[in-house]
Symmetry: C2
Subunit: 224 residues, 2 copies
């Protein structure tokens, strides 16, 4: 797909985006040792922007930098996953409740377009794009509630959670249920059926828990 060419902005941002994608999509496996120099050569840039990208990724806990020694791609920490999932559940239930009271036309348009696209991607098995649409679905809810910043922060807290979700999506494939939940939730929101919408959201966010053990068994070296 050559997503490499499309990334704009500074060299640092380019390095950051590229590395982040490679880690999230497991093109670089958890536990792999990498170095500034190695990556810099690979990307044909100097060490400085790569180093800065490393630091940002370390902040997000996608990398573990050991001073004067080396840098490794972090393993998925299941305790962090659960903590992140817990918080996300609590927050997003509040968000849905808020959204029920204020879901303007522009958001309805975006949401319907999003859901339509989800079905297209599902029919074509485009997992990568489907993941992005799933993210966007939830983001729209946060924006409609005037809590865009909270979404951004949750994304950071939930990086390990998201890595697990992406891993699950790529291996498993019963998105139908997920998309169905999205549809129901949207209908309940525009009908302002607060309690039911909140309940669906709770179920929705607890789906991942179930398959956790299966994935851990299949890819033990990805986890910690």
């Amino acid at each position: 797909m050559s997503m490499e060419q499309k990334i704009k902005g500074s060299t640092r941002d380019y390095s950051y985006q590229l590395l982040r994608n490679k880690i999230m999509h497991l093109e670089i496996e958890p536990g792999t040792k990498i170095s500034e120099k190695e990556i810099a050569n690979e990307l044909n840039v100097s060490r400085t922007p790569v180093r800065e990208a490393f630091m940002k990724l370390a902040e997000e806990e996608l990398l573990d930098i050991i001073p004067q020694s080396g840098t490794i791609v972090s393993r998925i920490n299941l305790r962090h996953v659960e903590e992140g999932r817990f918080i996300r559940e609590k927050i997003e239930k509040e968000i849905v409740a808020l959204a029920c009271g204020q879901f303007g036309d522009d958001f309805r348009f975006r949401m319907e377009a999003n859901i339509a696209m989800q079905e297209v991607c599902a029919s074509q098995n485009n997992v990568c794009k489907l993941y992005e649409l799933d993210e966007e679905f939830h983001q729209i809810l946060f924006e409609a509630s005037g809590k865009q910043r909270t979404w951004k922060m949750l994304q950071q807290l939930n990086i390990h959670f998201n890595r697990l979700r992406l891993l699950r999506l790529s291996k498993d494939s019963h998105w139908e249920h997920i998309i169905q939940q999205h549809k129901e939730m949207y209908q309940l929101i525009i009908r302002q059926e607060k309690e039911q919408a909140v309940q669906i959201m709770e179920n929705h966010l607890r789906l991942v828990v179930i398959e956790q053990d299966m994935l851990k068994e299949k890819y033990p070296h990805y986890f910690i």
Copy 2:
């Protein structure tokens, strides 16, 4: 007090901590323009670690870096304050509820020590230390609930909120009420009176809202 000398670790971390403190304690006012070179000279270090500290602070939205142009200390964004406060309220109510069910002896010891210290600092008007103790009080709750990572993340989301709190503490001074609430909350937690503890927490976190307008009027150029 010379907090400068005590900071250990790498040069980057030193620069970061120092700058962060200066910004949080308003030794550098919001809106001030600073530059990597200027700060590097001031701290007698090279531009590299200062630059890296800048980037970290920009991530936290304490600095606004305008590429090829300049860097300014960000103003306190009151919309961010309110969003952060909202999230913190929702999360911390859940945390208190959790803590009621699991508050071990070691945490009780830390908590009682913390509260005792709060009273000492209040009697001696040590605002700075009192702020730190306030932070620690809440952090202990998160740790007792096994959600230390969440605390760390909330701290990031709430940097603007915290700047406001610190500003309030240093100018105003009715900590008695705050400390009183801390005491009550602790008692309710060890007695496992969940509903009441949650209620106190809600009141506690809504205190800041009240004085917001007063501060905005007094220091208009600090806000946006």
